[in-house]
Symmetry: C2
Subunit: 520 residues, 2 copies
């Protein structure tokens, strides 16, 4: 009734040859066979197929049987066909077998049962197998969940970080000192990288920033850069070459092959299960930094409701962990704990955020203080780390660079370098042609804007695919009167706009408190 | 970079209608679509499809894209077609969505993060979702692994057992008292049920035994019964009706729908990952007992190398857990801790074991003492629990029933009732036509026969599918001389026989110690 042993079911003596029929198949490691092949008539727990040609062997993970496939054919994907080096219509040996987990899985299982830390070599082996698709989804889940129950110690995190970085591309800036900025996320409208990168680059420091595209948020920095009309996909050589000149770039990190094992674990385990152990978060972020060759890093740790960090105490502990992990990896890390419970600036959505960032670079005195202050504080930390400013004076230097227009000049240079237009004006950036203003139902003070709800409304309006979609806060931490406009929602589609309006009414993301607190 | 929120990607407004093309597809909840449908062009983490007809809605788990499928067609399995109530060639609505885990998964996740026990109602909800295929493989893995790290307490095990039993068939023997026997397994040749059932039934007690087929072992009791030429697949009504007359039956438990959630977890999680938390083992065994309506149960706990139970201390603790769990479920359980480090009797493999069991029933005085003693000890426990014998005298009563031929008569009656032949002789049972004897390479004493290696050799010879395949121990705990025959291997296939012979030479499952222990 209960099976403990792992046992390879014997391969039948009568190996069958099949005619390869190429097909565009997804997932790519899937094969489709006729149920009448008789290939899996015995007991096959975890059935798997080994495809054998004269020179290559390949294992498949997903087997689908369908009687649309002729008995003597096997349908395999273009990618597998290429890996096998076989041509369509050629014959191929198809061996059924019962999959045995790779050795690295037994290490994962051993840590789980014996509750003892991994050795560095063990982690290297596991990460290598993840990067090369040798562990299946269940086995990868066991690896991630082991960190929820028996968190990795710092030695294990260090090795996980190193191994994830080293199994992907490593970008080489030679002898130059490289600066970076990263946020743990969760705050809509957090466009600070668009100010920090030009400020730091204008100070003469090298900051080739890799950013993400939005997955569950309304806009990633890479999406916003695209709203400027810029390219964000570059290869490593281009990144190194262009940033020699501009000192700063803002590109999409997914355009490289940085720490692919990390992306695999996020896609196959962490996202579907909604789990993200803090040890994985540390290793995930730092592995990308190791792979991009960064020496000095400022971490933005947005803290508060709706973000990943609940309270100041957790943020402080996380900041210390980043510093310690960085020390082991020769990256100096300092963290800024920032207020994360409300959106940054007055806009959410790619084009609207692009407009606001450019406006603020052009006229910082009239920019939203949350955006200007946060950008200058985080820039100041980097300037101090670099020795460009004395301790406590970095923020002032950042402000000077911004206020004197040096950051704007640098940003225009970056736009040009990334195939954009350096003479762009904010109004040149197209926003959604449909918009609606939402009026306050009561008079009082706006005391809270809910990040999670705002993100959902913006996504309903079309973010991030619809670059012109988004939200403008007409009032923020202000007094409002009943009937006054609070926000404006934009979309390129009328139906999505009214869906977003309906979502606003349902979610009610803005809390207004009357002047009268209570009456006794 | 890191995604924490679960977010349903919006269903596009342009719902597409597809023509249903029926196909024999496995896994059955798979659909095959053209990659050109454009159905999944947006961001779909965990893509899933909702199939909508006028009356029904169905969710698929596996989506395969293949350009062999015409753009306007969707290939779905016979089973899904039936569930949808749609005919081939009809139109069907196909809605892409990003799968959100069911509520029960968030309970599993909550226990994991907060490290607090489940409430009974939570377990009921989870097991219900498992039985109805609403949790995916990853989510089920999280449920099982949570028991490895934070073992269930007895309340949780009790509720898991009850919920697993109640989500499947419940066999009803009315007012009658039902007896049972179960082994935790791991010992090849353990044919004791073939003696215990007739002994207990001959004493007038009702023992409708459900047995397993071999999965990783050489032979399950159900396989051995088939080697007698008996049917082992019955429905619940037949089991109740036939065992009214014979008092005893030996049938295949898999022929019913007993605790299906347990089978799902074994197949999807425990077997592929090679994990079997002790809390799952308790609930697994006892849920089947609850579902078969058992009141008195004797547990065989084979202990020692190669079994699931390492040492006497663990066996005692497990026995106490079975007793306590039984008390909560109104099943009286007593456990026998048995020597499990060597095979039971002299034969391994369905037909050989059938022959040996029948021979022993016909002539117990010449049967292997390991088989006779173990069968009578475990039978004795049941006879004492039933009040048929005083404490300490059950074993003697069992022996009397066996030695007087009453157990043989009863067994023949059972053979007849299960469509076998009650006048069968041991030599009537066909064994493999090819055999080979393996000679000892040295002189000395056989001190150990390795269960795991013996099982592997027997499986190589063809067990359990080849009913005539197996091993006979010509010597066991005996003195052997160099060149003397130790074992004989049988198979119906010459090539499998020589593979088994090769496996024997490689594994060397029999340890022989010389009379001279050492020389100083």
């Amino acid at each position: 009734m209960v099976f403990m042993s792992r046992q390879v079911v014997k391969i039948p003596a009568d190996i069958r040859e099949f005619v390869v029929e190429k097909a565009q198949i997804y997932p790519t490691n899937t094969v489709i066979l006729s149920p009448d092949t008789g290939l899996f008539k015995g007991v096959f727990k975890n059935p798997q197929i080994q495809l054998v040609t004269e020179t290559r062997t390949l294992f498949t993970e997903h087997i689908v049987l369908s009687d649309h496939v002729p008995v003597e054919e096997i349908w395999i994907s273009d990618e597998m066909l290429e890996q096998l080096g076989t041509k369509e219509g050629e014959k191929i040996q198809v061996l059924p077998l019962s999959r045995t987990p790779p050795d690295s899985y037994w290490l994962i299982r051993k840590r789980m049962i014996q509750k003892r830390p991994f050795l560095p070599t063990e982690i290297t082996m596991i990460v290598n197998d993840i990067a090369h698709h040798r562990l299946n989804q269940l086995e990868k889940t066991t690896f991630v969940l082991s960190q929820v129950y028996e968190p990795f110690n710092m030695e294990e995190i260090e090795e996980l970080t190193r191994a994830m970085a080293e199994t992907g591309d490593m970008i080489d800036f030679g002898q130059q000192t490289v600066f970076g900025k990263h946020s743990t996320g969760g705050v809509p409208g957090n466009k600070v990288s668009l100010l920090i990168v030009p400020i730091i680059a204008a100070a003469g420091l090298l900051i080739p920033k890799t950013s993400s595209r939005a997955i569950t948020s309304p806009s990633g920095t890479a999406d916003t850069m695209e709203a400027f009309g810029c390219d964000v996909v570059f290869n490593a050589d281009e990144l190194v070459e262009i940033s020699q000149k501009t000192r700063g770039m803002i590109v999409w990190g997914g355009g490289f092959n940085l720490a692919p094992a990390d992306d695999i674990l996020i896609r196959d385990v962490e996202f579907p299960l909604g789990v993200n152990p803090s040890t994985m978060m540390l290793a995930s972020i730092m592995s990308k930094k190791v792979a991009t060759g960064i020496h000095f890093l400022v971490m933005d740790l947005p803290t508060g409701y709706g973000t990943k960090i609940k309270d100041i105490g957790s943020a402080q502990a996380l900041g210390r962990d980043f510093a310690e992990l960085g020390r082991r990896l020769d990256i100096r890390v300092e963290s800024g704990i920032t207020f994360g419970a409300s959106p940054v600036g007055h806009t959410v959505g790619p084009a609207l955020e692009a407009r606001e960032a450019l406006q603020t670079l052009m006229n910082p005195r009239e920019g939203p203080s949350s955006l200007v202050e946060k950008s200058c504080e985080l820039s100041g930390i980097l300037l101090e780390m670099a020795g460009k400013a004395l301790r406590g004076q970095g923020r002032e230097l950042a402000k000077q660079i911004l206020y004197k227009g040096q950051a704007l000049d640098k940003f225009c240079e970056i736009l040009d370098a990334q195939s954009g237009d350096g003479s762009l004006k904010p109004s040149d950036i197209p926003v959604g042609e449909h918009s609606v203003e939402i009026l306050s139902q009561s008079s009082g003070w706006i005391v809270q804007i809910d990040n999670v709800k705002i993100a959902e409304i913006a996504r309903t309006a079309g973010c991030p695919k619809d670059k012109g979609a988004g939200i403008v806060f007409l009032k923020k931490k202000d007094a409002v009167k009943r009937g006054e406009s609070m926000i404006r929602i934009y979309s390129s589609s009328e139906s999505r706009l009214s869906a977003a309006e309906g979502k606003f009414a349902k979610l009610n993301p803005i809390t207004i408190e009357g002047m009268l607190i209570g009456r006794v």
